[in-house]
Symmetry: C2
Subunit: 189 residues, 2 copies
Amino acid sequence: MSASIFKGISFTDDEAELVNAHLKKLVVPKGTILLSADQLVACQYYVYSGCLRTYFLDDSGKEHTIQFAVNDWWISDYTAFFSGGQSILHIDCIQEAEVYQLSRESMEQLYGEVPSIETFFRLKMERFFACFQKRILSDLALSAKDRYNRFVQAYPQIEQHIKNYHLASYLGITTESLSRIRKEQAYQK
Amino acid sequence: MSASIFKGISFTDDEAELVNAHLKKLVVPKGTILLSADQLVACQYYVYSGCLRTYFLDDSGKEHTIQFAVNDWWISDYTAFFSGGQSILHIDCIQEAEVYQLSRESMEQLYGEVPSIETFFRLKMERFFACFQKRILSDLALSAKDRYNRFVQAYPQIEQHIKNYHLASYLGITTESLSRIRKEQAYQK
DNA sequence: CGGTCTCTTGACGGAGTTCAAAGCTAGTGG
DNA sequence: CCACTAGCTTTGAACTCCGTCAAGAGACCG
């Protein structure tokens, strides 16, 4: 498994075995909550199939989606995962998923045993960082309609997996507004 | 200098010297553009005094501020800095500043020579990442008024340095709206 | 002083929200 | 295989927050 998860790294046989020993495969049914707020975050997850998401639940009970993860993405409440503090995000399963779990502890250990793993995750985080920045810019600079169009263009494979209200909570609008945007876009084709 | 920039790391004398050799001190006058869009990003900057910011210039000519940096912050167009691609952000100087420049090249070299530096930057980036996430949540979950209040509470030392129109472009509102929010807040005290 | 940059104020308009109701769709059990 | 229900999406009408445009008032600097 390690070979396909850590694409781009070439392991020796020994290294591959070390890595595999730390990965735990989970089959996650739709609707499962993998993490709730106010917990310690021990793991991150590699998504092989299906779809997970992280969201924030605000004081008024509204959900705000931070990230979707489909095939070949990693997901966790990274802010808490890194700091060792309590989670503020929830992780739930939107579509039955096959994931591989990797604990913080295992990571630290692997950093020592297989140095290329540390580089792999540094690069992952750098790309993740870029995604976040792009999103902040979208939120600041674009209208709801433009944010929607950009999303479906950038992530068609995610749109297939999710409900409209999930997408609305990601775009920062109501389901009603999203519905109207979609209607309008349909006419323009 | 390296001792105060890399607080928390204890260097040997040799290491400190290696690090200092890579840092270049700059005194930056107010109004200077340290980086424009569509360039290669060779450096990041440690701010010792004064104030810099990064912003995005959208198609309609509007500025969207991504980050302010005052004493003890680092700043760059990190998305481009990491990927090696072209910058999309501008960096300008809001208040005459004393900064220390560190090039990508120097960093790579230091990673080899002084291993604790790599850990230092990994932690820096993890904290940076958390800031970005907090901001996405603010934008999604809070009204303009609440975002303003949260900002002045979280970063009073930044508010001192910047104009209202800088803050407005960070909060994602117009200067007029910010003016009205401030007026309203004044009554409530 | 005079000019430019910055902030404030007012009137109006528009994008998106809220609330309520109706129309779909998909999954479940008889 | 159909019927029912619960979950999801659409639609409409009223409302709200914030943006736009325009004008005026301060503040700062040569």
